[in-house]
């Protein structure tokens, strides 16, 4: 177990180093000269003053060897210091902090919604395999996977805020403004959760301990609640963290549509405005979070798994 943990952490460290090097290299890749990139983003003028370039170069320490620059950048990045955002003149770590909170809230609500809908649907489908209910659920989940969120969102806005006037079309201040984006985001995880619930549940229903429970005199519903659900939940739970990691930075399109000040929209606007420190901080932060969450889930799962096997055998 210790070897397992050490190995995973080592891989995590290497990955983070690789990603940090890649994000550090962004301004070098785009124009070759980061100073020109920065100045161009500020003045948007092709004719740059050579003395201004030289001044900025020494101000930013860009006349030093590139490895030294990377190491000092990394040293500051580890402490959360990515410098100032060009566009908003605010420290990048502050912007990232608030944005992570917003995206996290949205992701938790969306995943919660998805789970609440997926559990009964998946169970129903598993109980009647090959029947009309099962086919219906299959078609529903396959359709949900195929819905582009940038299609659903405008239609929801059109119906619920323009025509009916019930919900705000964008923003984040009002609690009601969470409803439409959360619904939009919940659709795809819901479809996947349903599929996994169905698969796990049909395994459980076919297992000997369910037959044992039924033969002890438990009704179908009781057996399902007391033995089935508990055992079917674990595979669904492990999906949660994966989706959480994905939605934290990956809900760019939905955040842009609904003007939600989350991670996705922050990184997107940084890319559009060539705000280099914010791009670096945002991308490194998103990827680091995703990778960290995955590693922690892996470790937790490895911890839980033997216990699960023992419990299954004991029932």
């Amino acid at each position: 177990m210790v070897r397992f943990i050490v190995r995973r952490l080592l891989v995590l460290l290497i990955t983070l180093l690789a990603v940090s090097a890649a994000t550090f290299a962004i301004p070098y890749a785009s124009g070759g000269d980061p100073v020109r990139t920065i100045l161009r983003s500020r003045v948007s003028d092709q004719a740059l003053d050579p003395s201004a370039i030289a001044a900025l170069r020494s101000e930013l320490g860009l006349d030093r060897p590139i490895l030294v620059q990377y190491l000092s950048w990394l040293g500051r990045a580890v402490r959360g210091d990515f410098g100032m955002s060009f566009t908003s003149r605010t420290p990048v770590d502050q912007l990232l902090g608030t944005a992570i909170g917003v995206s996290g809230t949205l992701a938790v609500i969306a995943i919660g919604l998805a789970f609440l809908a997926a559990l009964p649907l998946g169970t129903l489908a598993a109980m009647r395999p090959g029947k009309r209910v099962d086919n219906g659920v299959t078609l529903l989940t396959q359709s949900f996977v195929a819905v582009p969120e940038y299609w659903l969102a405008p239609i929801l806005v059109l119906v619920f805020s323009r025509y009916l006037g019930w919900l705000p079309s964008a923003g984040w201040r009002d609690p009601t403004s969470i409803i439409l984006p959360a619904l939009t985001l919940a659709l795809r995880p819901m479809a996947y959760f349903t599929q996994v619930t169905r698969a796990a549940m049909s395994d459980v229903l076919a297992s000997p301990y369910m037959t044992a429970a039924r033969s002890r005199g438990l009704s179908g519903g009781q057996a399902l609640l007391r033995h089935g659900l508990r055992n079917a939940l674990l595979p669904v739970m492990t999906l949660f963290s994966l989706w959480f990691a994905g939605l934290l930075g990956g809900s760019v399109v939905v955040e842009v549509i609904f003007a939600i000040p989350g991670m996705g929209r922050l990184v997107y606007s940084a890319v559009v405005n060539h705000d280099v420190p914010l791009i670096q901080g945002g991308i490194l932060c998103t990827v680091a979070l995703a990778v960290l969450i995955t590693t922690v889930t892996d470790l937790l799962y490895a911890l839980i798994n033997p216990a699960v096997r023992v419990r299954d055998g004991a029932v």
Binding site: N135, Q142, V145, P148, G250, V271, H274
Partner: protein
């Protein structure tokens, strides 16, 4: 081996018309008698692909032709689906836009599948430290949202078709590698691999001649299942203005253009989104049907 034997089950007739009839019959047999999701999906996808292939000949208008007197008109006799804010025919734009959407998604999918399959197969064949590194890499890459990879590449190198394809392939190969590795581990323990090794075949030869061909079916069904995701992501990047750049326009870019006018003409938003939805759904259904059939077969054996 299994694949070649299933292909040569019937003796192929020699004359040309007979061969054509035989091909048609094989094609029909591939669709009928399968799971209902596969049948529906195959028919819809065939329709969509036919329309997109024939677009230059059957599109009613030039997609860039502006009829400024006929802006935002609803469906009618001249314009079957109406016109957009510049008086361009929506149906023609849908047909031409679909060619970009579908072909970009297909290219990224093909690249991802080929790269992932080869990496997975060699990883399983090699084992040891190489296998460990490959698997840990896929574990971590799979958790990175591909939109973030796309934003990263665009920040570093700017927009473009190459960037779009690269962004979706960098993360996209991982599920294929995982699947292929699992299948390859199983195939590697079979007798015919042992026989090939005993005959002195090289690793590369065994992987390409025996391992990959025997794992094609599951890889194919995964490919079908992943296509919708690619199509939607490509459209999403175009929707936020980072994908297909004007004057080219795909379904995602059409949705972006339609945004300010959606209240006046909802069809402007509904049509391109529906095109993505129908295409993605049909391909996913095919994948689902194939997957079910494969599961049933492995359960039965």
């Amino acid at each position: 081996m299994a694949l070649s034997s299933s292909l040569s089950r019937d003796p192929v007739p020699s004359t040309a018309p007979r061969r054509l009839a035989h091909l048609t019959a094989t094609g029909l047999r591939a669709v009928t008698g399968r799971h209902w999701t596969l049948r529906i999906g195959a028919v819809v996808l065939a329709l969509v692909l036919t329309v997109l292939l024939l677009t230059p000949w059957i599109a009613p208008y030039d997609p860039a032709h502006q009829d400024l007197g006929q802006r935002l008109s609803g469906p009618g006799a001249h314009h079957l689906l109406g016109t957009d804010q510049l008086g361009r025919d929506i149906l023609s734009r849908l047909m031409y836009g679909g060619r970009f959407s579908v072909s970009i998604a297909a290219v990224t999918l093909l690249l991802s599948a080929v790269i992932g399959t080869v990496i997975g197969a060699f990883s399983a064949r090699r084992g040891g430290i190489v296998d460990e590194v490959v698997m840990r890499t896929t574990d971590l890459l799979i958790s990175i949202p591909d939109v973030i990879v796309a934003l990263f590449l665009i920040a570093a190198f700017g927009t473009g078709y190459g960037m779009l394809i690269a962004a979706l392939t960098i993360v996209g190969w991982t599920p294929f590698a995982r699947l292929m590795r699992g299948l390859a581990l199983e195939i590697n323990s079979r007798e015919y691999i042992e026989a090939a090794e005993a005959l002195g075949c090289s690793k590369v030869f065994i992987v390409f001649r025996h391992v990959i061909p025997n794992a094609l079916r599951p890889v194919l069904s995964l490919g079908f299942l992943r296509f919708g995701h690619k199509l939607i992501t490509v459209g999403g990047l175009s929707y936020v203005g980072l994908g297909v750049q004007p004057p080219d326009s795909d379904w995602g870019a059409m949705l972006l253009d339609a945004q300010p006018y959606m209240q006046r003409l909802p069809l402007l938003v509904i049509a391109p989104g529906a095109a993505i939805f129908v295409t993605a759904l049909s391909v996913t259904l095919i994948g689902h049907g194939m997957e079910l059939k494969r599961k049933r077969r492995t359960d039965a054996s």
